[in-house]
C-alpha cells in the first residue's frame, strides 16, 4: 500500500506534526464562522497557496484531490439547485479550503509521525483502561501486513469459482474470504503472545 505522504522539505514538512494537526482542527472550526464570500475566497486562496508550497505538481495534485473534490462539487451543485448562488459558493469555497488544507497536512506528515501522535493522544484513554496505546501501532501494522494477503486470497477464491464453471457472486466470495481470513486469528494471536509483544503489566 502506498501512502499519501510526499517527501519534501517545505515549511509544512518541517513543522512539528502536533502543530499541523492542531492548526488543521482550528482552521476547520474557524472556516465555519465566516459566512460571506470574500473572506472565504481569501481562505481558499491561502489554503491553495499552502498546498502549492509542497511542490506536488498540478497533474499529480489533481489526481489526488479529484475524488473528494467531486463530492464537494456535487453537493455545491445540489445546493445551487435547491438554494441560492451565494449559499452554493459558500459551501464550495469553505469545503474546498478545508480539503486543500487537510490534503496538505496529509502529504507533509509521515505515517510514523502520525502513529506517534496517536499513541501519545491515547495515553489518557490508557489510564482509564479503555485501550492500550501500544496496541494502536501494532494493529495498524497488522492491517497493512494482511491487506495484500487478503487480496491474493480473494483472487484464489475467484479462480476457484471459474475452475468450477461458477459465476463469482458477492456472497459466495465474501463468506469463504471471511472464514479463511479469521481462522488465522488464533495462530497470529499465539505468535504475538509468544514473542511477548503485548507485555501484560
Amino acid at each position: 500500500m502506498k501512502t499519501l505522504y510526499v517527501e519534501g522539505d517545505s515549511l509544512l514538512h518541517r513543522l512539528p506534526p502536533r502543530a499541523k494537526l492542531l492548526g488543521l482542527a482550528a482552521a476547520g472550526i474557524a472556516l465555519f464562522f465566516f459566512r460571506s464570500i470574500p473572506p472565504l475566497a481569501l481562505a481558499a486562496l491561502l489554503c491553495a497557496a499552502i498546498y502549492a508550497s509542497l511542490g506536488i505538481g498540478l497533474r499529480h495534485s489533481f489526481a489526488r484531490l479529484r475524488p473528494i473534490f467531486l463530492t464537494i462539487a456535487v453537493v455545491a451543485l445540489f445546493t445551487l439547485l435547491v438554494g441560492s448562488t451565494e449559499e452554493a459558493a459558500t459551501v464550495l469555497l469553505r469545503l474546498t479550503s478545508l480539503m486543500l488544507l487537510a490534503a496538505a497536512v496529509t502529504a507533509a506528515t509521515g505515517i510514523g509521525d502520525f502513529i506517534d501522535e496517536i499513541t501519545l493522544a491515547a495515553r489518557p484513554l490508557e489510564r482509564i483502561g479503555l485501550v492500550k496505546a501500544a496496541d494502536i501501532g501494532l494493529s495498524i501494522g497488522l492491517v497493512i501486513r494482511f491487506v495484500p494477503e487478503i487480496l491474493d486470497r480473494y483472487r484464489a477464491i475467484k479462480d476457484a469459482h471459474y475452475a468450477r464453471g461458477l459465476k463469482p457472486r458477492i456472497l459466495t466470495l465474501a463468506v469463504p474470504l471471511i472464514i479463511l481470513t479469521l481462522k488465522n486469528a488464533d495462530e497470529i494471536a499465539a505468535a504475538i503472545d509468544a514473542r511477548g509483544i503485548r507485555t501484560q503489566k
Binding site: 459551501v91 496529509t106 494493529s139 463468506v175 471471511i178 504475538i192
Partner: protein, 187 residues
C-alpha cells in the same frame, strides 16, 4: 482486549480495506454503483459483534486519517474527513456498533436458520442503514446548510443499494456463524 480480539479486529479491518479495492458493482435495478466497502462495515458488526466490529471500523478510519488510501476509490488522508460526506464515515463506527449489538442480543445459535437470517437482516438494516444515514444526513445538512429534508432527498438514491447490502450481510453473517462462529452470545 485479549490478543485474539485485537487480531480479529485488525484482520477484519484488512478485509474492509480489501473490499474497498474491488471495483464497484452496478446492479441492474439501482442507478447508483455500489461499493463493497460499506457492506464490510455491516459484516464487521454481524460477524464480530459490537466491540470487535467497532474496533475494526475505527482502525480503518485511523488508517485513512494517517494518510493511507484505504477507502473505496483510493481515497484517504485527512481530506476525506473534510468532505460533505464525512458524516457517513463517522456513522460507520456507530453502524458497526449497533449492528453488532443487535446481532449479539437477538441472534442465537439455537434459533432456526430463517429466524437467524431475519434477525441478522434487521441488525444490518437498523445499524447499517438507519443509524448510518442518521449520521450521514445530519452531517450533510449541518455542514452544507442544506437543511434536513433536502439532505435526505439527496441521499435517497443510495438507500436501495444499502438495503440490498443488508440482505447480503444477513446471508453472509449466517453462513459465517454456521462455518466459524465468532459472534459473542448474550441473548
Amino acid at each position: 482486549m485479549i490478543t485474539r480480539d485485537l487480531v480479529l479486529a485488525a484482520l477484519f479491518a484488512a478485509i474492509i480495506v480489501a473490499l474497498g479495492l474491488l471495483p464497484p458493482i452496478t446492479l441492474g435495478f439501482i442507478p447508483v454503483p455500489i461499493t463493497a466497502q460499506s457492506l464490510g462495515v455491516m459484516l464487521a458488526g454481524v460477524v464480530l459483534g459490537s466491540k470487535r466490529g467497532t474496533a475494526a471500523v475505527l482502525l480503518v478510519l485511523l488508517l485513512a486519517a494517517i494518510g493511507l488510501p484505504v477507502l473505496s476509490g483510493g481515497r484517504g488522508g485527512l481530506a476525506v474527513f473534510a468532505a460533505p460526506t464525512t458524516g457517513y464515515l463517522i456513522g460507520w463506527v456507530f453502524a458497526a456498533f449497533v449492528t453488532g449489538y443487535i446481532a449479539e442480543h437477538f441472534v442465537d445459535r439455537s434459533q432456526t436458520g430463517l429466524v437467524q437470517g431475519v434477525n441478522f437482516f434487521l441488525a444490518a438494516l437498523i445499524g447499517g442503514v438507519v443509524v448510518l444515514y442518521a449520521f450521514g444526513i445530519t452531517y450533510l445538512a449541518l455542514v452544507t446548510g442544506l437543511g434536513f429534508s433536502k439532505a435526505f432527498l439527496g441521499s435517497l438514491a443510495f438507500i436501495p443499494g444499502d438495503c440490498f447490502k443488508a440482505v447480503i450481510a444477513a446471508l453472509a453473517g449466517r453462513a459465517v456463524m454456521v462455518g466459524y462462529p465468532l459472534l459473542p452470545q448474550r441473548a
